[in-house]
Symmetry: C2
């Protein structure tokens, strides 16, 4: 893959990204999304530029109005003179890897603004992989000089949370009377939210939902530095969104002054490292599955129930080590 | 952990499970949920009993009425004289690992029936881990003689789909006018659905939603053996649920007669094996992170941006190999 010519063009891409070239940035994001040696090359090159932007994760169930809220937030962020990028992560199939067109054509109000960059990303084969691609995509955007990066995911499942946790500040969006969401929040999702937004505040029950969240927060206090905030918004008509943005900025200031930002980022790098190592192991196995007669034989023994999956996995790990030893 | 006494009591648990003791089964499911050497021991012991039951995955966004549908399906399955177990996987926090009480207290109509077993399971730290625990939990239920195992997950995200794919037959539940879900389905989730159910069929637009799904199915034909079916139900009043159960049974018959069942199960064992190997790698790293000064040093270099995450991961993999070689 990485011939001299390709390296040369990757070199060009990385140089152009730092100069703020949007086309090169788009190209780099595609490369990072696909993964592989070119993606690794770009990350190696641009990693020194990362760590400057404020990463904001925004998540919530389908239909609560996340995209509308993000759209309104972009206006607030731009009013502060900051450059902003949005990564919308799609809950697409592990098979097609296709992205939802709907997300791409939303947020059209900002398409002419050169300081706004919006991009959809498809899910990789597994949740960990998508989080890894998200980390790397954010690095490309940081190298391109974006001050704020919004990572928008759909849903409150495990994988969406893993992705939301790549952020410095996590915003959970709900709508009035979303009983199942409140259940999920009570059961623990709450712990990852720094800021809670009850959107569609014109619907009945908005204040009740906000009170329920506040009550849950008081039952599960999160630490002294930051007390999570709860906002009622109607993003459609831009109501309350400025307060959400103020709260996001206050959270960042709090992370910085308390030293928590460094702690959080260390923790994230640690998770990323362990996910990357697991990924290398998974890929090594994919190669073994295709090429190693030993692994094929194990698979057949598994099907015949002569061996159980855990013992088979241990055999494979042994195999990989002994192959490496040769 | 595995002292003689503990082994003895695990031995008892495994024997009692096969005899159909519900308390031992519940205990085994907790052990499997927690993971670790005791879980592996039980799976080794009971793996030969697995592979007999029909595994049905049921998934859909919050609020579409999955639990009500499952409740109604249980009645249909029991009417056919089959023993049925339900595993409800909760979208709980990676931090608390707590399960949602709501799911546990649902489906109360069947609590007195000795041939129905209902159990909530919390998500493990990562999506792959939850799928692994689901495989093992299903094995315990198969050893206990359940003919049908329903795996219910909340959401249409990556992790929920990974869990749904542990099943032989996957049922996707929607409700009328769930635009975002249809989007997701169009983008590829469709491929994993064998049967589609538009629940809450009394709401306006139910037939329109069913038609949209049918139209998408015709655009993406799935192979000759099985043509996915689309049903409109109102599970609350038990409308249309018998047809869903008939379709699930027909799908099973089709998998068996076409030889696809064996293919699917081989594919699942292959995924499980690669996830288990990745898991071993991840755990090895967790130990290294705590104990290895080399890994701690790498982490500090990462924080100072002297090294990028991909290069760091390669160093760690090399470290693990060379440690093993000693």
């Amino acid at each position: 893959m990485s011939t001299g010519t390709l390296k040369f063009s990757l070199e060009n891409i990385s140089q152009d990204i730092v100069k703020g070239n949007r086309r090169s940035l788009a190209r780099a994001l595609s490369i990072v999304e696909d993964g592989g040696p070119d993606a690794v090359w770009l990350v190696r090159k641009l990693f020194p530029y990362a760590g400057r932007a404020h990463l904001i994760g925004i998540t919530g169930s389908p239909g609560v109005g996340k995209s509308t809220l993000v759209d309104a937030l972009i206006s607030e962020i731009r009013a502060d003179g900051l450059k902003v990028a949005v990564l919308a992560i799609d809950p697409s199939s592990p098979f097609t890897g296709g992205a939802i067109l709907g997300d791409r054509i939303r947020m059209q109000g900002h398409t002419l603004d050169k300081n706004v960059f919006i991009r959809s990303m498809a899910n990789r084969g597994h949740a960990g992989g998508t989080a890894l691609a998200t980390y790397d995509a954010a690095r490309m955007l940081e190298a391109a000089g974006y001050d704020v990066i919004i990572i928008e995911t759909v849903g409150v499942g495990q994988s969406e949370l893993a992705i939301a946790q790549t952020a410095d500040t996590t915003v959970l969006v709900l709508m009035p009377g979303s009983g199942d969401d409140i259940q999920a929040i009570k059961s623990g999702i709450m712990e990852i939210g720094d800021i809670f937004v009850v959107n569609k505040g014109d619907l009945p029950g908005a204040n009740k939902t906000a009170s329920e969240i506040l009550a849950s927060l008081e039952l599960n206090p999160k630490g002294a530095e930051w007390k999570p905030t709860v906002h009622v918004t109607n993003a459609e008509v831009n109501e309350g969104v400025n307060l959400v943005w103020k709260s996001i900025s206050a959270h960042k200031a709090c992370l910085e002054s308390s030293g928590q930002l460094k702690e959080r980022r260390k923790h994230k790098l640690q998770s990323e490292l362990s996910e990357l190592v697991a990924d290398i192991a998974r890929n090594n196995l994919k190669n073994s599955l295709a090429h190693s007669p030993q692994v094929q034989q194990l698979l057949n023994r598994l099907l015949d129930r002569e061996i159980d999956p855990h013992s088979a996995a241990e055999c494979v790990v042994e195999d990989i080590y002994s192959e490496k030893r040769k």
